[in-house]
């Protein structure tokens, strides 16, 4: 079995400051991370590799200035990594990448499973997986907590959509992917959205709504993995050192050999930048504990009623 993992890099958010008044983002410390959801996708691939001996190949999820994230994927345990380069490739968006990656999958001689992060940390892009599935003509599962692949099938645990309560924002997106471990793959696969036993323990502020479901499709398929779904492993130190010392650890392909020049025309055009509207400030309550509790209850009631 061959698994392809798409990995990309994002700017470390702790090194940037957003200045709304001046309408700018200041980069104080330019450091890059492997996109957290992609790290989870890589971990999912490596767990399948541990279980089945599959070959894991890392490909970039977008244009990269260097092959560092691919080396990180190799250090973590991927067997092969391919760096894509070429003229007119620098401005590639997800639409272009889907075409390029579909061609790359073909040149690799096909694959059984493509795993990618469900979203990027910086611009919250989640299109790449679905677009690639369309380009390949494969089925897709989007936003998995867990992935298992055996005997020509892939199963993924999905989380039911969180029901909306009151206003349009229920929980901060970061919180919704909290740390409660999802149930193991298994249970009744044919009853969508049925809570699987044992139910995840309830957490304060973390009502998981409709529970989990396991879905299954035939291979080959594309599965995108949520950030925080799995704890990525630490690479083996000696392997890491050897991969960073080896000049040719990462293969280099020219995109011109994969697709025609007009396939590199991006769908997106950048016209400027703007900030989303500022969030409303919260209300500060004071007084005796009873008064404060009453004020919080009143505020909640008002929120729910709208």
């Amino acid at each position: 079995m061959r698994i392809i993992v798409l990995v990309g890099r994002v700017l470390d958010p702790s090194g940037i400051v957003v200045n709304r008044r001046r309408g700018r983002i200041f980069i104080n410390r330019e450091e890059y991370l492997v996109n957290p959801a992609d790290r989870c996708a890589l971990e999912a691939a490596l767990r399948i590799k541990d279980a089945t001996g599959a070959e894991v190949v890392a490909l970039p999820r977008g244009p990269l200035p260097d092959d560092d994230v691919l080396r990180q994927a190799l250090a973590a345990g991927a067997d092969r990594a391919v760096y894509l380069t070429g003229d007119g490739f620098k401005g590639a968006d997800d639409a272009v990448m889907a075409r390029v990656l579909a061609a790359a999958v073909e040149r690799l001689g096909g694959a059984d499973l493509v795993l990618a992060g469900a979203t990027t940390l910086d611009t919250r892009q989640g299109q790449l997986g679905p677009r690639l599935a369309e380009a390949l003509g494969w089925p897709q599962i989007v936003g998995a907590w867990q992935v298992e692949a055996t005997d020509g099938k892939v199963q993924a645990v999905l989380q039911a959509p969180t029901p909306r309560v009151g206003g349009d924002r229920v929980l901060a997106p970061g919180r919704r992917w909290g740390k409660t471990p999802p149930p193991r793959v298994g249970g009744d696969r044919h009853q969508p959205w049925s809570p699987l036993p044992p139910p995840p323990p309830p957490r304060v502020g973390g009502d998981r709504g409709g529970g989990y479901a396991t879905v299954e499709t035939d291979l080959p398929a594309v599965v995108t993995v949520l950030p925080g779904a799995l704890k990525p492993r630490y690479p083996d130190g000696a392997r890491l050192i050897n991969i960073y010392r080896a000049e040719d650890a990462v293969e280099r392909w020219d995109v011109a050999d994969l697709v025609e020049a007009d396939a590199l025309k991006p769908l997106l055009e950048r016209r400027g930048q703007d900030f989303p509207p500022e969030r409303e400030r919260g209300v500060r309550v004071s007084g005796t504990p009873e008064e404060m509790a009453q004020a919080v209850a009143d505020a909640l009631r008002q929120q729910v009623r709208g």
Binding site: R71, Y234, G237, L240, I241, Y244, R245
Partner: protein, 388 residues
């Protein structure tokens, strides 16, 4: 001249920092309170090869060299001095003595499991009446056929209480003293007569174990002599040079943590209507601290590069230890001043760092000994021999 880290060292630092922040830092306060060694962390480090960071891959190590080892110690020192001490005693002096002076057979038998972290090491030198004056040790070894019989008591042994393999120095010829009369031995835990004595109740680095070791007619085969008979003192001093450099790296991490905590506190703490960062008195403290830290960083990694390129570094290693421990103590003292009364409470890590930092001016050769090493090296270059 090139001051950039190699790509593998950049990648190693990223790995070590992530490990330190996720696995080591969360336990730092707990192991200090409970006074226990974080074996679970050491096991996790062993699994990814960190306990053999500087040893060649043919001996089961990671092959990241002295620079890689300094990176590990800096990042550990930044989050938990106790863990850095455990690791330093294992790699930097315990396993290092086998690496530097062991025969090929000894390396295969002892260094391999140490580098892989399957076994832990300790370096056993100090005695009750032989601290700074290491040549005054009285533990003796007498040859009996193809074996040596060790007798004596060693104190202040970091990792000694749980180490599987210890390297011990003993007097083999009392008439010759440090030059020619001392020999190093490899002793395995469990050898009859080898016992753990009392544990020290320390002010800081409470997550590391410091114990007395007792040797009562411990019989060691001749093939466990480390280096040549009579050359133990020179061999141990060579090992301590490496230990001193990496202790400087751990101090660099401790000082860096103090700087980061101070900057964070100066940004958030408001007095007289403004953040402390806007007070010149605090700005000067931060500027001085940062300058010393950068000077120390340059020294530590330059010496690491000298070790990796095979240049002599004894004098500079002593400088790393001396300057590093003093910079760390000063930085943490200033950080405590910036944090004020809250920094003095046990709710903030500053008080732990303050207690932990002080030991660096004492162990691995007191700072007074480092000054003797530096001065005697300088005077030797001018034809003057200094005796301590």
């Amino acid at each position: 001249m090139d001051f950039t880290f190699a790509p593998e060292h950049v990648a190693l630092r990223r790995l070590v920092r992530e490990f330190a922040e996720n696995e080591v830092a969360p336990l730092a306060m707990e192991i200090d309170r409970e006074g226990r060694v974080p074996f679970e962390t050491l096991r996790k480090m062993a699994k990814i090869g960190l306990l053999g960071v500087c040893f060649p891959q043919k001996y089961g190590g990671m092959g990241a060299g002295e620079t890689g080892y300094c990176i590990l110690m800096e990042e550990l020192g930044r989050v938990c001095t106790s863990t850095a001490t455990n690791v330093g005693a294992h790699i930097g002096i315990g396993a290092m003595s086998v690496y530097l002076d062991g025969t090929e057979e000894q390396k295969q038998k002892y260094l391999m499991p140490l580098a892989r972290g399957e076994k832990l090491a300790a370096f056993v030198l100090t005695e009750a009446d032989a601290g700074s004056d290491a040549a005054a040790i009285r533990t003796c070894a007498v040859q009996d056929g193809n074996e040596w019989v060790l007798n004596g008591t060693k104190t202040f042994n970091t990792n000694g209480s749980f180490a599987d393999i210890v390297t011990v120095m003993a007097v083999t010829d009392p008439t010759l003293g440090a030059r020619g009369g001392m020999t190093a031995f490899i002793v395995e835990a469990g050898t009859p007569g080898f016992k753990v004595g009392t544990h020290e109740n320390k002010m800081g680095i409470r997550g590391s174990s410091t114990a007395e070791l007792i040797f009562e007619d411990v019989r060691v085969p001749h093939e466990n002599v480390l280096g040549k008979v009579g050359e133990g003192f020179i061999s141990f001093m060579k090992t301590l040079d490496v230990g001193r450099l990496t202790l400087g790296a751990a101090c660099l991490g401790g000082a860096q943590a103090a700087l980061e905590a101070s900057v964070h506190w100066a940004k958030t703490r408001k007095q007289f209507g403004v953040a402390l960062a806007h007070k010149q008195s605090v700005q000067w403290m931060i500027a001085n601290m940062a300058t010393e830290i950068e000077a120390l960083r340059s020294l530590v990694y330059r010496v690491a590069w000298m070790v990796d390129t095979g240049q002599p570094f004894t004098q500079l290693a002593a400088m790393c230890k001396l300057y590093g421990s003093e910079v760390a103590s000063r930085a943490i003292d200033v950080a405590l001043q910036i944090h004020g009364g809250l920094g003095y409470t046990r709710d903030f890590p500053i008080e732990r760092n303050f207690r932990d930092a002080r030991i660096s001016e004492i162990f691995e050769g007191t700072n007074e000994i480092q000054r003797i090493v530096i001065a005697s090296n300088i005077f030797r270059q001018h034809g003057v021999r200094i005796r301590p």
